[in-house]
Amino acid sequence: MGIFDKLMKLDRRWVFLLLAVVCVWSYVVPFDIPIRTEPESEAIYSFIDSLPPGDIVFIAIDYDPNNLAELHPMTYAVVEHCWRKELKVIFTALSQNGPGMADQAIRDISDSLLVDKVYNGVEFKGREIIRGKDYCFLGYKPYYALIILGMGQDFRLPFPTDYYGTPLDSVEMMKGVINYDQVACVIDLSGGSITDAWISYGQGRFNFPLALGLTGVMTAQYYPYLGSGQIFGIMGGLLGAAQYEEMADNPGRAKEGMRVQLFAHLVIIFFIVVGNIGYFVTRYRQKKQKEVS
């Protein structure tokens, strides 16, 4: 059996093992790779960066823990950027297994705001993030399409209270905030069909600026909405999160993950090339044998 025949019959578990070894190695060895930012993620960063303190950003943490790996770094980067800029944030979690995870993320990010930090040469003093004043977490309600439509009329219709049971009229930052008209933009971080509802029932019906943070699997199919102007930015998968971290000068898990992505992709490309060579050589040999016989 020649080397190409062996390649064609290679046990796929060797591929998994090699990929795992390469991923672990590139995670353990510390080095940085350059991140090139793209206009679609730059648009989101620039939009948030240009908002004056006190403006409200609506961030929909619409994903379950199974999409946490790609979308959590986006949540951390975007929310921290908003709070460092002293923007107020309204959160929802319209995916059924997401509210507990979203609550934990909000608390974690609040903690990270306690310390002084320097981003892009600008010093930001640490401050306490206060629930009700700096943010309002509305939580989860079923049937996201109806919830998105209801919030366009009045946030209090689908959410008479916030996630913690406080009536919205008693929440300090929600005074005078009726619906999407009072928010600067909506950023939907989603791993499923909720994104479609935000486009059709949210942006399409109420015409607010909408940006998306999506899992890698979804990203390609939402680019047409960027071209049509229905959304003003996209962050795609871990790369999108890494780009945001790069722009915000706030390296986190996404940037750390990109060096693993680099080597994992090299391994995958290597196996694709070798597999194709093996396939074509084997086919050529079989053709030759047929001709001889």
């Binding site: 399409a145 486009i199 942006q203 399409g204 699997v217 992709h265």
Partner: protein
């Protein structure tokens, strides 16, 4: 970090390794992890639904009424109607009365369709069509900021999008045989689709690797926590849990190797 947080982290690492063990072959650890995820997700969803939907949207609305008047004396008695419709859904479990469940289902589908059709048509069909047929920007044909073939807003991109979309639609037109000029346009359509699928595949590979990276990061955090001597709970048994976990993994590998050598010796 306290001991119980570390214990949960250890459990998460155990479930991670149990899940990845499926790549080698199906095994009881994987089955345990799989059933745990399904069970926990379903249980969590039921509780979330109860506290976020049924309690505030139904029970609290009828709370000022009395159950022995079937809540008809509450200030908002009409909330009983959706409650009854909800209960009627359960008739699906009966062979004789299963047809009753069609009433709430019909109402639900009717409302959903009524809301969805105009908004979906306007935002996911019409707006996409307008964008596809936008005037060609001849003044920025090769890029809005200088020569850039990757600029999605350039005139060239507009032409490519229009031609690609039209050709892809023609590929799905089966009332005419794909021969001659029509067949060539259909071939352009299939190429356009393949490029689209390729882009999706590339993103999907990145997504799958991202999931693995996250697990590697979590296992890394766990091992760091186990050996962090600056932690005030360092002596609380972190290393015992760490080595217990390592022993389980090593034990599993040894068992697999023994079975492998047994099968091999039998075969020879």
């Amino acid at each position: 970090m306290d001991f119980y947080t570390f214990l949960w982290m250890t459990f998460a690492v155990f479930v991670t390794l149990a899940t990845f063990s499926f790549l080698y072959k199906d095994n009881p650890f994987y089955k345990f992890a799989e059933h745990l995820v399904v069970g926990v997700s379903a249980g969590y969803f039921v509780i979330i639904l109860w506290h976020n939907a049924l309690v505030p949207n139904l029970f609290q609305k009828l709370a000022d009424g009395d159950w022995y008047f079937i809540w008809l004396n509450s200030s908002q008695p009409w909330y009983i109607i959706p409650a009854i419709l909800g209960v009627l859904m359960w008739t699906r479990f009966s062979k004789d009365y299963g047809w009753v469940s069609r009433w709430p289902m019909a109402l639900y589908i009717g409302i959903s369709t009524g809301i969805a059709i105009p908004l979906e048509m306007a935002n996911r069909v019409n707006k996409q069509l307008y964008a596809m047929m936008a005037d060609i920007d001849w003044s920025h044909f090769f890029g809005t900021n200088g020569f850039d073939l990757l600029d999605v807003n350039s005139g060239l991109s507009q032409v490519i999008i229009f031609v690609g979309a039209a050709a892809a639609l023609i590929y799905f037109f089966f009332s005419k045989e794909h021969t001659g000029l029509f067949g060539k346009i259909a071939t352009v359509g299939i190429w356009t689709l393949m490029i689209g699928f390729g882009a999706s595949f590339g993103f999907t590979v990145m997504a799958r690797i991202s999931l693995f990276i996250n697990r590697v990061q979590d296992v890394g955090d766990w091992s760091e926590a186990a050996w962090d001597s600056t932690n005030s709970n360092y002596g609380a048994g972190f290393q015992i849990v760490f080595w217990l976990m390592v022993a389980i993994v090593i034990g599993y590998i040894i068992n697999e190797l023994r079975q492998f050598t047994k099968t091999r010796s039998r075969a020879s």
